[in-house]
Symmetry: C2
Subunit: 355 residues, 2 copies
């Protein structure tokens, strides 16, 4: 057994965006201090004790960072593997490197999930034009061709509606290994935010129902429209993923709800935008739950005591701020980003309805 | 009209304890950064962008601090007047200096409150032994002799049960001007946390019912045991105080509930320990409400959507942490103080019941 981190211990956070920022605040509630590592601008540093501004290839900075903290976690899944290897020699990384590796590669992720007996959209590995044509024959159209490694905001993704599009789609991958995924006919998308403690304890938040627009999450609503059986299924499958990865921390699982049951869209080995509603609806929110796990504390009560609609504030949504600040039962969370840009997540609001 | 502070503006906070810490976190939620000024250890600095460690007599440090921020607020009412005068020349101080002056002197405070038509415990100014004896004749016994200027934790306070104690009680004042207060026969103590915006808007949180032990607040419970009329009276009197002081920010008003109505015990021109429950029960908590006012934003919705019991963690209460962290519906807030000391506020918990 590992003892919980003592009061005053330092939690290192890779990534200085809004998730790192809210993790840092949660760490402070538990008596911990944080050290952010971020190559670029770091709004998280505004509420952290320390911030290292350096690249993930700066081994001296990585080493000094690791030695200055007691445990390391991260706010995003694209941390380069070489940096992780170096950091892991000095301090524990939670969630573990395996969870990151699996989620960094779409093919590995889906293979892992199917290996657990979970259902995903149909998929095939695509290494060249010939294997793309073969995959289209099996999976049918429309399909979506994606690079295996993660891209941001729909980059590295091409929809294929016609076999004649195959050549252009493959060219768009620019030689990177890819995966062809079939479309799923779903009624709605939900996500489960679940956590696993250092002692193996698993807890799940109530699933939230997500609405995306232009590839970006717009709203998450709790409670989601789900049957009791679907709710149970969602919790069970999240628990299966957490246990299989020997996971420590919070994990987001996006699910398609279909007439045939739940299909896993993707997993994120970190706190997740669709879990922001927990700040207004639960005694212990997802950020604190993550810190509790990473610090070896018992997980907290994530029971929901209010109905909440979370809405992201994206780009020019910031112009609505005066109205949102004055709106009833509305919690505003801004991310401290210097510049408003189209498509950029600037903040979110949680609208509370009594539970 | 003064425009609201823009995103990224800097709020200066005098005092780096737990109140400053939670104010700093609230400021971050609204897109502001904070700069703490604190002569001693500053747990607030762990979640602030900057911290000046200097005394309130360090005019160079005060001046540099003031020039580095856009507006100044404070977490405690004992800021020396000379420091305030200096700071106010450079930047607005909210709440204003008048609120601080009134609350720094018990005689001024009670005189101010009675001038508003509010009821206080009977009191008389005491400048020497003769005026103490005269005051005891009018007010009766038991009475409590206090220095006019604020003391901490019951220091500078002596209870007088017998006229023979008068000489020793006066000696304990060590020559400082004092005030004799009569005891109030009260059923319970409640407090109202209220806020006034830069535009004069006033909002009130639901009153909380307080239990003290050894002169330290132990618990605050919402809803308090109050009639509808008492609830209205409490809100109205808080509003009267806020308006009379042309106040900007959050104010705590401690009230005795008696068979004859509400009697004002004392006011605190700042966020207040008895308002910590708002973190779990309201969309906008007292810390954010204060920052909104100070920043010139519209006040937020302080409506209560859950029942909450706030309990302070004092000194060795920290030994109960493992149980508290695992307790259902319990939110733990720790203050990041390095050392546990008897009587020291180390954190608090909010236990949530559905509203």
């Amino acid at each position: 057994m590992t003892a919980p981190l003592p009061q005053g211990a330092v939690i290192g956070i890779l990534g200085g965006g809004q998730l790192g920022r809210m993790l840092s605040v949660a760490a402070s509630r538990l008596g911990y201090v944080t050290h952010i590592y971020e190559p670029g601008a770091a709004p998280a540093a505004q509420v952290a004790q320390a911030c290292t501004t350096a690249g993930y290839d700066d081994t001296a900075a990585l080493d000094a960072f690791a030695r200055s903290v007691d445990v390391i976690t991260y706010e995003f899944e694209n941390v380069p593997a070489a940096a992780l290897d170096l950091l892991e020699q000095a301090r524990p990384i939670r969630p573990g490197v395996r969870a990151l590796a699996v989620s960094q590669d779409r093919l590995d992720e889906k293979t892992f999930l199917e290996g657990l007996g979970l259902r995903c959209a149909p998929f095939r590995a695509v290494d060249d034009l010939a294997s793309l044509r073969a995959a289209l024959d099996v999976i049918g159209m429309p399909g979506i061709l994606k690079t295996r490694r993660l891209g941001y905001d729909g980059k590295g993704q091409v929809r294929i509606d016609d076999a004649a599009d195959a050549e252009a789609a493959w060219a768009a991958m620019e030689g990177q290994d890819a995966i062809l995924e079939g479309f799923v006919d779903f009624a709605r998308e939900v996500s489960v935010i679940a956590a696993r403690g250092l002692d193996g304890q698993v807890v799940c938040y109530d699933p939230g129902e997500n609405v995306h627009r232009g590839g970006i999450l717009r709203t998450t609503t709790v409670p989601a429209t789900l049957s009791t059986a679907q709710r149970t299924d969602a919790a069970l499958l999240a628990g299966r993923i957490l246990n299989a990865l020997d996971y420590v921390g919070v994990l987001g699982v996006e699910l398609f709800v279909t007439s045939d049951g739940l299909i896993v869209n993707e997993i994120a080995p970190r706190v997740h935008n669709s879990g922001h509603w927990t700040q207004a609806g639960c005694a212990v929110d997802q950020f604190e739950q993550h810190i509790r796990a990473v610090a070896g504390l018992p997980l907290g009560d994530g029971g929901r005591y209010a109905d909440v609609v979370m809405e992201n504030l994206i780009g020019d949504d910031m112009n609505r701020l005066p109205d949102l600040l004055a709106a009833p039962a509305t919690q505003v969370h801004l991310y401290g980003k210097a510049e408003v840009r189209p498509g950029r997540k600037m903040g979110h609001v949680n609208r509370i309805r009594r539970g």
